[in-house]
Symmetry: C2
Subunit: 343 residues, 2 copies
C-alpha cells in the first residue's frame, strides 16, 4: 500500500539515489530528470517516510517541549507560540508534561537517550547539574525557558525587576502597608518575585512584615500558582483585620483570581479597601480589571524556538542567557492615589 522510493525509481527508470536527489533538491541533478521524477512522485502520490529519513539523516526535525502542566495559563499561551514557530520551520513538537516535579528527569532522560528529537525546550523547570552535563556532552541541543543554568542557553523574564516595579507602583500610589502572596519558593519565579518585592520595600524604606507575606503551599505536587492557593492565602490575610495590608502584590494573575473571590466573599472592595497588582497578564486579567506586570510570553516563545533551532544547526555558538523585560499594565485593581481615596 505504501509507495517507496524504489517504486518511484522504477517508474522513472532511474536509481533511488537520483530520486533522493530530486526530493531533497540537490544541485547535483539534471533539471529535466528532476522534473520528470517530480511528476511521477505526484502521480504515485509518493511521500518520503519520515522515520526512515530521520534515521538516515541522523536528525528528526522534531523537538521535545517539557512543561509542568500545573494550572497555569501561562503555558497555554507559550505553547501556542512555540508550536506556531516550529511549524513555520518545519519541525514537529513532542509534548511532555510533568505532573510531579521529580518526574521531569524521566523525560530529560528519555530525550537524551532515545535520540528521537533534535533538541529540547525545558519550560519553567530547573535542570540538575548532572543532566546539564549530559546534555552538553551528548551535544543534544537544549534551551531553558523561564529557568536558568550557567552552562546552558536560557531565556528569563526579569522577575526581580518586574516584582520591584509592581511593588513600586503600589508604593507610589501612597501605600505603606503592602503585603505579598507568592507561589512556592521551590519555583524560581516564586523566589525571584519575592526578592524583587523585598527589594522595593527596602529601597523605599518600608518595613517588611512577615505577617503580610503568604507563601502558597506546594500542595498536591503543585507550585501554588493557582486560584485555590490565592483564595486561601487571601482568606488568611483577611484574618489580620485592621492589620491587613492596604495593598497586595500577588505573584501571578491566576492567584489573583482567588484573591478577588475571597475579597468579594468578605465584602472587601478592590481597589477601595485593598489594591491588587498581579503578574503575568494572562488574557483573562483584563476581564477582572487587574493591574499586572505583563510577561512577553509570545516573544519568549519565538526567541527560544529560534535559539534552539540555531543551536541545532550550529552547535558551537556561545552560551547565553537573555532576560526579557516586563511591562506594567495599569487597569483598575489599584485605583487612584491613596490620598484621594476618602473622597
Amino acid at each position: 500500500l505504501a509507495v517507496t522510493i524504489y517504486d518511484v525509481a522504477k517508474a522513472a527508470g532511474v536509481g533511488i539515489g537520483t530520486v533522493s536527489r530530486a526530493i531533497n533538491n540537490s544541485p547535483q541533478i539534471n533539471l529535466d530528470t528532476k522534473q520528470r521524477i517530480q511528476k511521477i512522485i505526484k502521480q504515485l502520490n509518493y511521500q518520503p517516510h519520515a522515520l526512515a529519513q530521520s534515521l538516515a539523516r541522523k536528525r528528526s526535525n522534531t523537538i521535545a517541549t517539557i512543561v509542568p502542566f500545573f494550572t497555569n495559563y501561562f503555558f497555554l499561551e507559550l505553547l501556542r507560540g512555540i508550536q506556531q514557530r516550529l511549524t513555520e520551520n518545519n519541525y514537529d513538537l513532542i509534548l511532555y508534561s510533568v505532573d510531579k516535579i521529580d518526574r521531569r528527569e524521566v523525560f530529560l532522560d528519555r530525550t537524551l537517550v532515545e535520540r528521537r528529537v533534535d533538541g529540547v525546550l525545558l519550560i519553567s523547570l530547573g535542570i540538575p547539574d548532572d543532566y546539564a552535563e549530559r546534555f552538553i556532552s551528548s551535544s543534544l541541543a537544549i534551551v531553558l525557558v523561564d529557568s536558568f543554568h550557567p552552562n546552558l542557553d536560557s531565556f528569563l523574564v526579569e522577575n526581580v525587576d518586574g516584582a520591584f516595579r509592581a511593588t513600586e507602583h503600589l508604593i507610589k500610589l501612597g501605600h505603606r502597608k503592602i503585603g505579598m502572596i507568592d507561589g512556592h519558593l521551590s519555583s524560581r519565579p516564586g523566589l525571584l518575585r519575592l526578592e524583587g518585592f523585598k527589594k522595593a520595600l527596602r529601597h523605599y524604606h518600608l518595613q517588611f512584615d512577615d505577617r503580610h507575606l503568604v507563601i502558597c503551599d506546594a500542595t498536591h505536587g503543585e507550585d501554588g500558582f493557582n486560584e485555590v492557593s490565592g483564595y486561601e492565602a487571601m482568606k488568611q490575610l483577611l484574618e489580620l483585620g485592621s492589620n491587613m495590608p492596604t495593598a497586595l502584590f500577588v505573584a501571578s494573575d491566576i492567584q489573583a483570581f482567588g484573591v478577588f473571590k475571597a475579597a468579594k466573599e468578605r465584602g472587601v472592595r478592590i481597589p477601595e479597601d485593598v489594591a491588587i497588582v498581579g503578574f503575568d497578564d494572562i488574557e483573562l486579567a483584563e476581564f477582572i480589571g487587574l493591574t499586572t506586570m505583563r510577561q512577553p510570553i509570545y516573544d519568549i516563545a519565538c526567541l527560544s524556538v529560534e535559539k534552539l533551532l540555531a543551536r541545532i544547526n550550529g552547535p558551537d555558538s556561545l552560551i547565553n542567557s537573555k532576560k526579557l523585560n516586563t511591562e506594567l499594565i495599569v487597569r483598575e485593581s489599584c485605583g487612584a492615589h491613596i490620598a484621594n481615596r476618602s473622597k
Copy 2:
C-alpha cells in the same frame, strides 16, 4: 559516542539477535544470558535508538493530537488528560495546533503520509469525507473528539441535551424572557447548543425571540468562543433596555467572563438583574460563581486515548460513537427563584 546494539553484542559475546531478545524480553532466550546481557546494557548505558526501532517495527509508539488552539481553556485540560494517559501507556504525543481552520488538512495530510505516528486524535475539528476515506483505507487509526463522522470512532458530549437542561434550569427558576449568546455556528458545539436552547423554549412553550440571540462572529479565524466576543455580545444585548432578557444561556464559560465584565461596567447585577448559565465548567468558573453545564473533560481524554490505543492494536473492532453526559453545576449566577427576587 552512541552505543549501539552491536557494541552490546560484542561485549557480551553474543549476536545482536540475542541482545534484541533481551531488550524486548522475548521468551525465546535463556534466563542467564538475558541477565548477563542486561548487566552489560547497564554498564554501557545502552538505550535502543527509538527511531531505528520504530522503523524496524513499523510502529512508532507515537500519536498525533490535532487541536484548534483558539482561546479555549477546554483544550488545556483535555490535553493534560491525554498526555497523562499516553505517558502511562508509553506513547509519545506530537502536538499539532491549527490556527486557521483550513490548515487542519495540512496536518491530517502529514500524519497520513509521513507514517510517523500510529494514530491521531482529532479534537473539536470536523473531518472532510475524503480524508475520512483516506484514514480508513490506509488503516491509520483515528478517533474524533468533540466531533463526528459516521465512519470513524468518536466521542461527543451531549451538547443538545446539555443546552436543553441549562435552559430548562433558567425556566424552572421562573424566567420567561431568556436569551442566548452563542459561538459561531460553523462550530459543531455552537450549532448543537443553539438547537438545545431552542428545543427547551419550545418544550416549555416559550417564544423564541431573534433579538435575544447573539451569535458571536468568527473574527480573526476564531470561533467566537472567547471573552471578547462574550463581552461584545452582552453589550449588544444591553442595548435592548427594557426588552433585555432576564436570563441568559451563554454557550461557553469563557464567553461568560466577557458577559460578567460587560454587566459590571453597566451596573447590571448578576443574578439580580440577569441570571447567567454557562457551559464547560472550566476551572475558573467556580471563581466567578458561574452556574454552568460541566463537560466531563477528563473522562473524554481518557476514553478517547483508550479507544485510540485499542484501535491501533486491534484495527478491526466496530466503529462507535459515544456520547457523554453533562452535569448541571449550580453556583450563584442564577440566584433564587424569580418569584422571590423582589424580597
